[in-house]
């Protein structure tokens, strides 16, 4: 297992796209956060911004961060199938379960670090936006403590779902696009229908809406949403693992 983990670390750390995506995941949401913080600070709380002395909106930037990073998750299997490397990998590690677990663990580890860096830059950008707007630096408290941990786990699970979809379909573009389309397009439409129908339980069923709720709510409810988001990962990852073990490379 340690050999598979070392292999995965070298695999993930020796492609430029990994570092480029981590950089993008730090800069793009942070740039947007800076702009929003400046705009809200300039307009003031009367214009619909958060009350004076409070930052806000970290949860709103996390899907963008996760969307950028999910390409790293999809690449774990997608690059190997696309370039035929999977045959070298599986000839080197004929027992397939350890290499599947190593891919999940190594992607999760890298994304935890990337998510912490991205959230930190978002918080710094929000504070800087307030300074530029003249309202002073305000620190987003939702980035610390349990809510901060849930924010990191939300990004990790989002990326791991991209990994699992790619492993299932052996198609990297599908692995990247499917979670984003689900999170940004399909689930908001379903949520809107649910709102009209009065289905208040809908956030407990939809993976990405539930995942977002894990960051925007507190306490047991938030952890419950996160657990269900994690279950959705398993729902995709378990058949992906079974197929990975059984089918031709």
């Amino acid at each position: 297992m340690t050999g598979a983990l070392r292999y995965e670390w070298v695999r993930i750390s020796t492609v430029r796209s990994t570092w480029a995506l981590i950089g993008l995941a730090m800069l793009v949401p942070a740039g947007l956060a800076l702009f929003v913080a400046w705009l809200v600070g300039s307009l003031g709380s009367e214009a619909g911004g958060p009350p004076d002395g409070e930052a806000g909106g970290l949860a709103g930037f996390l899907p963008l961060t996760a969307a950028v990073l999910c390409a790293i998750g999809a690449a774990a299997f997608g690059q190997e199938y696309r370039h035929g490397l999977i045959r070298i990998t599986l000839a080197t590690f004929p027992r397939r379960t350890p290499i599947f677990i190593a891919k999940v663990l190594m992607v999760a580890m890298v994304i935890v670090i990337a998510a912490i860096l991205a959230i930190t830059t978002i918080v710094l950008a929000q504070a800087l936006g307030g300074v530029i707007a003249g309202t002073g630096a305000v620190w987003d408290e939702t980035a610390w403590g349990a809510s901060g941990v849930r924010a990191v786990l939300y990004i990790v699970l989002f990326v791991l779902i991209a990994l699992a979809i790619t492993a299932l379909t052996r198609n990297q573009p599908v692995g990247i696009i499917a979670p984003i389309v689900l999170a940004v397009l399909v689930e908001p439409i379903v949520s809107a229908i649910a709102f009209v129908q009065g289905w208040t339980w809908i956030d407990w069923v939809l993976p990405f809406s539930g995942g977002a709720a894990a960051v925007s709510t507190d306490g047991a409810e938030a952890w419950g949403h996160l657990a269900i988001f994690g279950c959705w990962f398993l729902v995709i990852a378990i058949p992906a693992w079974v197929l990975f073990v059984r089918r031709d490379a």
């Binding site: 050999g3 598979a4 070392r6 292999y7 670390w9 070298v10 695999r11 020796t14 492609v15 430029r16 796209s17 690059q79 370039h83 035929g84 490397l85 045959r87 070298i88 599986l90 000839a91 080197t92 590690f93 004929p94 027992r95 059984r246 089918r247 031709d248 490379a249």
Partner: protein, 300 residues
């Protein structure tokens, strides 16, 4: 390390790609793996390594590859022409492969120098020629100094000097007591490289032995004489198989000495008597016959 292949089988839908295939890859020699396009060579290699799921089993030094502690020290493989990520440098590609066997950085440098890629070690291989890509694939295969090598068409894209180097390298590698299995369409090259060949057609074994054995089985003796009809009769009586070729006879099953004595005893004057050795290509064509999956039409 001897590789034992036992009853491999694999179907793709209704197509039987590999059918009850068994053979041995002995150590100490280069084994050529021959067959026409679509014969099932690549599928067989993937089955041997457990990359494809199918029937039968392959054991490396007595046990399946998956049961070895360090599989990369057991068998090195090169199955695809460009088995690397275009954006990862050649050195990093080998660093990744070196992790399983915990190989030092110096081994990577050594292998890169050996295949002539030291100067481009830190370049991304997206611009590598096919020949350079093959060298990088070979470097990956031999990186952990495995006890066996399995190479699928490794000479494709190599220039004559590189092919000569590859031939000498593989013969030397095998001479150290290792098993080397090489598939190729280059029969003339295989004749120079391989000591032992396994020939398959439509997924089935059609020949397994040394090149000399296979070629001699398909060689005959040509006899030109004053009375071909009489000599043909004498030779058939002695158990030979005779094909009449104008004033000459092609004889299988009797040696030149036996034919000479029979002609002398029968009073037939022999004008020419010589062994006609089949080439590996002729042998291959006879063995595989209509085994090409997608055959050409008439050339003209």
């Amino acid at each position: 390390m001897t590789i034992l292949v036992e009853h491999l089988g694999k179907s793709f839908g209704n197509v039987r790609a590999v059918d009850d295939l068994s053979f041995t890859v002995p150590d100490g020699v280069v084994t050529g793996f021959l067959g026409p396009n679509g014969a099932g060579k690549s599928t067989t290699m993937r089955l041997m390594l457990g990359l494809d799921r199918g029937e039968g089993r392959t054991v490396f030094d007595g046990k399946p590859l998956r049961d070895h502690e360090h599989p990369s020290r057991v068998v090195g493989t090169h199955l695809d022409a460009r088995p690397f990520l275009p954006g990862r440098t050649a050195r990093d590609h080998l660093r990744m492969l070196a992790t399983e066997a915990r190989l030092p950085e110096s081994r990577i440098d050594h292998v890169l120098a050996m295949v002539g890629l030291a100067e481009v070690a830190d370049e991304r291989p997206k611009s590598f020629s096919l020949g350079m890509a093959q060298r990088l694939g070979l470097a990956g295969a031999v990186l952990a100094e495995p006890h066996a090598l399995m190479l699928d068409e490794p000479a494709n894209g190599l220039d004559p000097q590189s092919i000569q180097w590859l031939r000498e390298f593989l013969r030397h590698y095998a001479a150290e007591g290792r098993a080397v299995l090489v598939s190729s369409h280059l029969l003339s090259e295989m004749q120079l490289m391989a000591d032992h060949v396994v020939v398959i057609a439509r997924g089935r074994l059609v020949a397994d032995g040394t090149i000399d054995e296979l070629v001699s089985q398909r060689s005959d003796v040509v006899v030109r004489c004053t009375d071909p009809a009489r000599l043909a009769s004498l030779l058939r009586s002695a158990g030979g198989t005779v094909a009449e070729e104008g004033q000459a006879l092609g004889v299988v099953g009797l040696t030149t000495d036996e034919i000479g004595h029979l002609a002398f005893d029968g009073g037939v004057t022999v004008l020419e008597l010589a062994t006609r050795k089949a080439s590996l290509e002729e042998t291959f064509m006879q063995l595989t016959g209509d085994g090409q999956q997608y055959a050409f039409g008439e050339a003209s």
